[in-house]
């Protein structure tokens, strides 16, 4: 029987990063990565298959990184684990291990709306063949309905809308698209951007059924409205793939994900889990977090991969940082929005500042950028931030996330020593984060009397 010191099951963002991290921390160990897919899709790139990138074949993670890190690859399905004897059973035979990392990812969620099983109804399945089939289908149709106005839904809708003569409608049950991640003012603006690009938006709309005679023909809403549809795509989230963990008798949490502690260890001390398959807790309050993002997966993988033979890192919980972009407009969020903060009981103070991200504003590449920061009033600690503007929003939000993670205060941020340049950043006088923090401090003082 073959044996490896470390086996990683799963070859996407979490599995790959766990393998690389294990190599960095344990250079002398033999590492084997087991995955069933011949080709691994870049998960965040999936919406772009249908427009910008052009095909699933152009959205793949290369295997060169495995070779570079001296990680062996076994293309096989992991079927079960003999935990007592520390053996992984696969469709290509058994392999022994000292430590095992499960990074089996997630599958798309399907709401049981009547008609979910009609021909022409798709989920965002991370599979090259499945997505190629969807892409071919899209080439022949006119009316496309995307159910779910989260970031996957809007990116999919926008990309599909770019190719050919199509009518794309996004149906969202909440009052606004992206409402789970952004405050209302940002959602409204992004909806306007989408509508300007020709996409129909139906918010506050629950889908009653997907109707058709064997094949999808229309989507019926609970208010009686109907939308013609040749293809319906569900983009409402993902569910942890715990098949292997459950078969092995590992503990599954109430969220349906593999239960792990802060070191990413499962209920078996020799088995770790990371990524979409592993249970997450929120940075704020420690309750289970439903977020599933590749960036979270890789963080967890850097924890799991480092801790295999002794604790070196711990998970402080999921802050929740991500961005989306439609055309030239980027929207990014980290931590709690003002609305979420108030819902959770924080006495929140929010400050928003807008202005160009170059100085003077006539410099090439200048885009109006809006930054909103949210603080807890009594402590002044930052709870979150949102950014809307050009591509730099994606990096500004990472700086905000670092502030959140380190529980910095408005005063800390107001005292930032920033580097600025006319061709690269906002003016030092109007630097967004610093000025938003100053505005928040003023509000806190006014309230404090």
């Amino acid at each position: 029987m073959e044996k490896a010191d470390i086996i990683v099951v799963g070859g996407s963002a979490a599995g790959l990063t766990a393998g690389i991290t294990a190599r960095r921390h344990y250079p002398d160990k033999e590492i084997l990565l087991v995955r069933r897919e011949k080709q691994v899709l870049i998960p965040c790139g999936i919406p772009y298959i249908f427009g910008t990138v052009g095909s699933p074949q152009k959205d793949l993670v290369g295997d060169a990184v495995l070779e570079k890190n001296n990680i062996k690859l076994l293309l096989a399905e992991a079927t079960d684990i003999d935990r007592e004897r520390k053996i992984l059973h696969t469709t290509e035979g058994d392999v022994g291990y000292e430590r095992l990392i499960i990074a089996t990812g997630s599958r798309p969620a399907m709401p049981p709306i009547p008609g979910f099983d009609l021909d022409g109804v798709y989920a965002v399945v991370k599979d090259v063949e499945y997505l190629s089939g969807l892409q071919q289908r899209l080439e022949t149709v006119k009316d496309v309905v995307v159910i779910g106005g989260g970031f996957i839904g809007i990116e999919l809708g926008d990309e599909i809308n770019k190719v050919g003569d199509k009518t794309v409608t996004i149906v969202e049950i909440l009052p606004h698209c992206l409402a789970l991640a952004y405050d209302e003012e940002f959602c409204i603006e992004m909806e306007r951007v989408l509508e300007d690009r020709g996409i129909n938006i139906r918010t506050s709309s629950k889908v009653e059924k997907i109707a058709g005679d064997g094949k999808v023909e229309k989507v019926v809403l609970s208010d009686g409205g109907e939308i013609k549809a040749d293809v319906v795509i569900l983009g409402i989230g993902a569910v942890a793939n715990v098949d292997l963990a459950q078969r092995a008798g590992l503990r599954i949490g109430l969220t349906g994900s593999i239960a792990v502690d802060r070191t990413m260890q499962t209920s078996d001390e020799n088995i770790y889990a990371c990524g979409d398959c592993a249970e997450k807790i929120s940075f704020f309050g420690g309750r289970p977090s439903p977020l599933k993002l590749a960036s979270i997966a890789t963080l967890e993988a850097r924890i799991a991969g480092a801790n295999l033979f002794g604790i070196r890192r711990e998970n402080i919980g999921t802050v929740g940082v991500w961005s989306t972009a439609v055309g030239d407009t980027a929207l990014a969020t980290a931590g709690l929005t003002e609305g979420m903060a108030r819902e959770r009981g924080y006495d929140a103070v929010a400050a928003t500042i807008a202005g160009p991200n170059r100085h003077p504003g006539l410099m090439p590449g200048a885009a109006n950028t809006r930054v909103k920061l949210v603080f807890e009033r009594n402590s002044g600690v930052i709870l979150g931030g949102q950014v809307m503007g050009g591509p730099a929003a994606g990096e500004i939000i990472n700086a905000i996330s670092a502030c959140v993670q380190n529980r910095m205060t408005a005063e800390d941020i107001a005292m930032f020593q920033t580097g600025t340049h006319p061709a690269l950043t906002a003016s030092p006088i109007a630097y967004h984060m610093v000025n938003a923090a100053e505005m928040a401090i003023q509000q806190m003082r006014e309230r404090g009397g």
């Binding site: 599958r107 798309p108 969620a109 399907m110 709401p111 049981p112 709306i113 989920a123 399945v125 599979d127 499945y130 049950i173 629950k206 569900l234 409402i236 989230g237 569910v239 793939n241 715990v242 098949d243 459950q246 008798g249 503990r251 599954i252 109430l254 349906g256």
Partner: protein
């Protein structure tokens, strides 16, 4: 003694679950159809419902969950959906709790280890018990 209502049309499963639950000091009621299930939700007032999806004529478990929440307004009754639908249907997606479309608290696939079954129920009931009666 907490009362668990199990709505499932598989007699072997009901028997196995009864043995596990009763060994852990739970009282168990059983129903094998959607109608009987709804009747017993109302008549036996269980502390928690374990609900299958594929009952005798189709995907009735989905409707039972919606009926409990929407028609009978039992918003706080914990519902634990336990099913083999994913193994049977071989679909590339997964059903999961959804506030709007599938109002259950926990969704797990069969088969389930007895320990996991008991842990999950205890955790679901425990969570409810820990909630303060009135906001602090």
């Amino acid at each position: 003694m907490p009362k668990i209502l199990v709505i499932d049309d598989d007699p072997d499963f009901l028997l196995a679950v009864r043995m596990v639950l009763e060994a852990h000091d739970f009282e168990m009621e059983a129903a094998t159809t959607a109608e009987e299930g709804i009747d017993k939700v109302l008549s036996t007032e269980p502390d928690l419902v374990i609900l299958d999806i594929m009952l005798p004529t189709g995907y009735e478990g989905f409707d039972v969950a919606r009926e409990i929440r929407e028609k009978h307004k039992l918003i706080d009754l914990p519902i634990f959906m336990l099913t083999s639908i994913h193994g049977t249907k071989k679909v590339p997606y997964r059903f999961a709790p959804d506030e709007h479309y599938l109002p259950v608290d926990v969704f797990l696939d069969k088969p389930i280890e007895p320990d996991q079954l008991v842990d999950t129920i205890q955790e679901m009931l425990g969570e409810r018990r820990e909630e303060p009666e009135h906001p602090l």
